[in-house]
Symmetry: C2
Subunit: 311 residues, 2 copies
Amino acid sequence: MNSFSSDMRTAVLVEFGKVVIYGVGLIGGSFALALKAARAVGEVVGFGRRPVVLARARELGVIDRAGAHLAQELADADLVLAATPVGQLPAVLEQIAPHIGAHTVVMDGGSTKEDVVRAAYAAFGGRIGQFVPAHPVAGTENSGVAAAKSDLFWCRKVVLTPLPENGAGSLERAKRAWRLCGAEVCELTPAQHDRVFAAVSHLPHLLAFALVRDLAERPDAPLFFDFAASGFRDFTRIAASHPEMWRDICLANRAALLREIDAYQKQLRDFKAALQENDGASLEQGFTVARRARRAWGEKTEDGAVVARPL
Amino acid sequence: MNSFSSDMRTAVLVEFGKVVIYGVGLIGGSFALALKAARAVGEVVGFGRRPVVLARARELGVIDRAGAHLAQELADADLVLAATPVGQLPAVLEQIAPHIGAHTVVMDGGSTKEDVVRAAYAAFGGRIGQFVPAHPVAGTENSGVAAAKSDLFWCRKVVLTPLPENGAGSLERAKRAWRLCGAEVCELTPAQHDRVFAAVSHLPHLLAFALVRDLAERPDAPLFFDFAASGFRDFTRIAASHPEMWRDICLANRAALLREIDAYQKQLRDFKAALQENDGASLEQGFTVARRARRAWGEKTEDGAVVARPL
């Protein structure tokens, strides 16, 4: 009787009987915690390079157990999230693809999409319809499973870049999973995605890294850091991000990022020329365009605090 | 009896009998409010270009009255703060200098110092010892008297760039005023000041303006802004700053800022070359230098939240 009613409850509430997370860091761990908080998952099994991370993830209640045999665990998995740094995704997808079950939906959590899609076609072959490319827009300068939290995706956008081969079933299950995490699901093509994020995310990271590095390598660096204040703090917050992760993202989205650097260099040369020519009108006009756009964006998004209402 | 004890109290508590604020915006208004909160001022008299701003400042209790005759008000002023945008400071100092009393100490609140010092020598002539150049490091992307608050300088640095002509008395009174506002007083030479702030403040503003302008002027700008998230928010917060004020600062600190732009362009070319050559090791190494420096700075300053303990 008890076992019957418990089974009934499970059948009603649990949308994903078994979820496999490959790479249990900030994104993978938060995805697991969010699905657990929504009571939408039966069991979460973790895989990854470092056993110590998986042990910690278990201690924290992020995963239910560390998996031992990938092939065995994937065969009856409902959902797989490959959430490693993007540089490792091709190899990880190669490992995953041969073993998935007929109903398994696989997603990645990478910040770039064209390269992931290329790797996915190579890895999945005829099963490519089961792979739905995903990018949860919810990174922070912190990383690792200890930073994972169940509300990381709450009110955040998740961009899916569906493939022509994705059936309605796979796509709907992917969307459902992210909505259960409290996210707003959007769709772009992989090329659109990479162009947009090169401009609004990858370039700003590169620019912030460049500024801090420029100061850090000076012989009198402490003098500069001593007088850095709140403007510097916010501008450079993302320069505290994970170097390996951002190396991978920059390389993965190289072509789009190089185009953005070119456009930005031109913009900077314009301001520099205005400064050299003491052309205050051009400077003020350029600053005004920027200020107006930034204020409008801030008002629309409550200064980025709430990007969307979930569900 | 009542009037006697009230006078006694005034004599004990009020360090500055009369303070004149020329330019009652965020900085000038906050200076007035902070001295009032410290019960260190007898009367605050405001001057400025726009009568409506002075009326508003009076309504808000920031100034006690708007001044009518500058010469008359300055003759017995203990302290004058010229807190207009830096572009207007030369003209303002010209207006102020001829009328100050023998014991008046004049400060500016400008974000650049070499140009202000040049203008001050021209304006004050033999009275230059009464002018103490000051830069309270406490701007925000908001401006105007409505944003003024008594704790704006609390735990913030105020950089003085004393002149050889400043007597100990003038300098001590300048320091005392800012410490009463809760600030930590530091000293630099004008040239040091301008070099440091070109790097940690003026350049980041220019870079943030450049990024937002680059996006705002694209035909498909909304697509980009739609997907901008928290990294973009913080990186570009300072791009919402006041265009006229920043035009003035950039022009006033042109030489140092141009040198910083050159250094930054070189840094950006380095990252771009690494990206073109698919040189992940160089990227990661550069990012690591930046991350380490940014984390160390963040820990030392509680991520910039508290720059110093006051008093």
